[in-house]
């Protein structure tokens, strides 16, 4: 094999040497292709695997940890929640609509492959600044793509997050989370076994789509990538809907041995992984694979990333049952090969053998790197926050409204109204009201989910950022009244070959691991997306956590909104906020500096316990986490949208009252473990006593009512805005950027 071909496949000299050892000879071109995708960063996690081992993955509720297509946790009544998050960053940058759409399609397949019916989708999005028309075009396309796929297939998109920071301008993030429900004893697995069992291909025909897509996701962008664009994959949600229904129906027959979707690296990855998990071989004839284009080579067929395809292993003798179900859905399952006992992945083109690889070695001897790490030089300066040169705001109400209208904080209804968030009639907390909540039909339970991660916090302190992401996602779930029971994560970082990036990665993983351990939330799976850079500029390190919680009684679900006038407003947690990494600093001073406020894990844990128990005892009427924009923004968010109520609160004088920024800190400073709840006066003392028992500070700060939002400090009103003004700023902050975007 000549060197330029090997280089074009992205295999290093060492990796190629290992390939030669495994094969004991020169590879065929098809074999080289197979090794290159299986050993790409995307499929083998060669840079990250070592670190991921530090994540806690076990717990009493874990039914399936990392390693399968998705993780699963026990939710009672013999049911499990099956969920995972995936990135589709690079494809979405190249073609926003199709990139995002196929990302949704991919994660849905991961869920129903496990035998679970998907019931909810969430998405976590990062883009550059909205002032840039190119960003608006990306946002418009990505949101339409998520909507186009999710709406059509009929899975509600019940939540998510969107943030805008210049660091994502050349490399947006599109992370999609899907959750399904399955009977615990009926989980399907992506494994092959039983020599002689038939291997079926079902779904869309194979074209030359995204060949080398997996290697693309493993290399950073440069100026030339616009030209070397591989064929873009086009999503077909209609086909996937048929596949989803047909696969779930086939799984009920018990005629299946295993099933796996063809995601990145398509047929290569699915055949190799299914064989490796079952410790068997698989032999297929690529000429039998349904093809959309003419003249495709075995290499192309094995590496194609055409969407909406599944690989199945059926029990010998039960073929007719399997075929019949697919016929009903006008899908034609095609037998392309069989399971063998010799442990080899053997690919034939008619009679000619074009690849013959020891399967276990292909999977298990994938390279593993302990890449060097170095603390980045930027941190020293970035962590210093010196406000001496900054003007303190003179008009706090104005600052308050500006923050409410900042796209990161403002209402995301422009986004989620494009998503069908009610289909399947399970959505008991609509998007925009906090965590997404869906009930589980046939039980009294509901599941709540939130995806969160603050890239700026991570940029300023990756370990703290990791901890904070876990805490925020879990806290959002707890605010709905749910007990967090499991998590998945999507780790979006730059080029791991740069020690500074690898350091960020390692630190963030440590932070996530520590917080998950302390909060007892096991990680059951996830996804790593590296090389998120353009021309050497990395994105902010952005771990996104997806946390799932369970509520035993769906009628106890809480949202952010104050439901009535005359309720007491209670702040749970320590009132103090900090300006490091805050949205205030960005909006008012254009700075990303300082350190994010540190998380106290014991406090966080106690706070979440107070929330869950208060919801269960119906002590509180609403709960909302203090996130970006701090206390004042949170308070406004409890009031706005469609006939909300106002509020009047009184805060204690800040400790450093003479500091020019003391009031700013109190109003807009950010800190974890703070939640604003509303409570009927009859329940107030029980709530306070309960919080005291768990050593969570709880302060009655005011009452709901009226049509204004007023905050006073030490008896003096410091900011007072109309409910209508607040609502206008918040409702229009994102939408105003999209008034002139064409379809």
């Amino acid at each position: 094999m000549d060197q330029s071909t090997i280089d074009a496949h992205g295999l290093s000299a060492d990796e190629y040497q290992r390939l030669l050892e495994i094969l004991g000879r020169e590879p065929t071109i098809t074999e080289l292709g197979i090794f290159s995708v299986m050993w790409s960063e995307h499929c083998s996690y060669k840079s990250s695997r070592l670190h991921l081992r530090r994540l806690p993955t076990e717990g009493p509720r874990v039914v399936q940890g990392p390693g399968e297509n998705a993780g699963a946790v026990d939710i009672g009544d013999g049911l499990t929640a099956v969920f995972k998050i995936e990135s589709h960053n690079h494809p979405s940058f190249i073609e926003p609509y199709q990139g995002a759409a196929t990302g949704v399609g991919g994660i849905i397949r991961d869920i129903f492959t496990m035998g679970a019916r998907p019931i909810a989708l969430l998405n976590s999005l990062r883009f550059g600044a909205l002032e840039d028309p190119a960003t608006r075009h990306l946002v418009d396309g990505v949101v339409a793509g998520i909507a186009g796929y999710g709406n059509s297939i009929g899975i509600p998109t019940v939540g998510g997050e969107v943030a805008f920071e210049p660091s994502y301008a050349g490399n947006p993030l599109v992370n999609v989370f899907c959750l399904g429900v399955a009977e615990a004893d009926k989980l399907a697995m992506g494994l092959a076994s039983g020599a002689g069992n038939p291997v079926y291909y079902v779904g869309a025909k194979t074209g030359r789509d995204g060949i080398h897509g997996a290697t693309m996701a493993s290399a950073e962008f440069d100026e030339n990538s616009a030209d070397s664009r591989p064929a873009v994959q086009v999503g077909d949600p209609f086909m996937e809907k048929l596949l989803l229904e047909a696969c779930l129906e086939v799984m009920k027959t018990d005629a299946l041995v295993g099933i796996q979707d063809m995601g990145a690296a398509g047929l290569t990855c699915s055949t190799c992984e299914m064989g490796a998990r079952g410790d068997v071989g698989i032999e297929i004839d690529v000429s039998l694979v349904p093809q959309r284009e003419t003249g495709m080579t075995p290499y192309e067929i094995m590496l194609s990333e055409s969407q909406e395809r599944m690989l199945l292993v059926a029990k010998r003798g039960r073929e007719a049952e399997v075929e019949q179900v697919f016929e009903k859905w006008d899908l034609h399952a095609v037998r392309i090969g069989e399971v063998t006992g010799d442990g080899r992945l053997r690919i034939r083109d008619h009679v000619e053998v074009v690849a013959d690889i020891p399967n276990r070695q292909l999977a298990d001897r994938a390279p593993l790197y302990d890449r060097p790490t170095t603390r980045p030089a930027y941190l020293e300066a970035a962590q210093q926050l010196d406000l001496a040169a900054c003007k303190a705001p003179v008009d706090l109400p104005r600052t308050w409204l500006d923050l409410l209208g900042a796209p990161v904080i403002a209402s995301k209804h422009w986004v989620y109204r494009q998503y069908d968030h009610m289909v399947r009639t399970n959505t008991v907390a609509l998007p925009g009201l906090g965590a997404g909540v869906v009930r589980v039909k046939g039980t009294d339970r509901a599941l709540a989910f939130s995806v969160d991660g603050n890239g700026r916090y991570c940029y300023l302190d990756p370990a703290e950022g990791g901890r904070l992401a876990v805490a925020e996602a879990a806290r959002n779930v707890a605010c709905a009244g749910a007990v967090p029971i499991g998590a998945t994560n999507c780790l979006n970082f730059g080029n791991p070959e740069r020690p500074e990036i690898m350091w960020q990665f390692a630190q963030a993983v440590d932070g996530i691991a520590e917080a998950c351990r302390a909060l007892e939330i096991p990680i059951t799976g996830g996804n790593v997306s590296l090389y998120n850079e353009t021309d050497g500029e990395a994105i902010y390190p952005t771990p996104v956590l997806g946390v799932v919680g369970v509520i035993d009684d769906a009628s106890q679900v809480l949202t952010r909104l104050f439901p009535a006038e005359g309720l007491d407003i209670v702040l749970l947690g320590d009132p103090a906020g900090a300006l490091g990494g805050s949205e205030y600093l960005k909006v008012a001073h254009g700075m990303a500096r300082g350190r994010p406020a540190a998380l106290d894990l014991d406090r966080e844990r106690a706070l979440q316990q107070v929330l869950v128990e208060a919801a269960r005892g119906r002590l509180i009427c609403s709960a909302h986490d203090c996130a970006e924009g701090g206390f004042a923004v949170t308070l406004a968010e409890c009031c706005v949208e469609g006939g909300g109520v106002g509020a009047r609160v009184e805060l204690a004088e800040p400790a450093e009252a003479d500091d020019r920024f003391a009031l700013v800190c109190a109003l807009f400073g950010e800190a974890p473990s703070r939640v604003v709840v509303s409570v009927a006066s009859g329940q107030r003392d029980r709530l306070l006593a309960h919080a005291r028992e768990l050593s969570v500070p709880a302060t009655v700060i005011g009452q709901t009512g009226g049509d204004r939002l007023a905050i006073s400090v030490a008896g003096e009103v410091v900011a007072d805005i109309g409910l209508d003004e607040a609502e206008q700023a918040w409702m229009g902050g994102l939408t105003r950027h999209f008034e002139h975007v064409a379809a």
């Binding site: 073609e95 074209g207 030359r208 064929a231 873009v232 086009v234 077909d236 086909m239 959309r292």
Partner: protein, 85 residues
């Protein structure tokens, strides 16, 4: 001046709509329809002194807005030009 723009998916790009239409026609008894590709068609009425001016304006608009260059290609027709099909 009347102009027309035809936007089609590039040949290598999968067209799920076209495929679904062929399948539907098949089950309706139109097996004689072997392949369908669906594209977009725009009629633009533009201010332009000459056909050449119209063509260059419309091509620019097609490039920027009507077609997605990553997956689509387009063709422009202008009234009064000798348009070959």
């Amino acid at each position: 001046m009347k102009t027309r723009v035809f936007v089609t998916l590039k040949p290598s790009v999968f067209d799920p709509q076209g495929k679904t239409i062929v399948d539907a026609l098949g089950s309706m008894g139109y097996a004689g329809v072997r392949d369908v590709r669906q594209g977009k068609y725009f009629e633009l009425d533009v201010d332009a002194g000459t056909a050449d001016e119209a063509r260059s304006l419309v091509s620019e608009v097609a490039d920027k807005l009507l077609a997605n260059p990553v997956i689509e290609s387009y063709r422009v027709e202008v009234d009064g030009e000798g348009n070959d099909v």
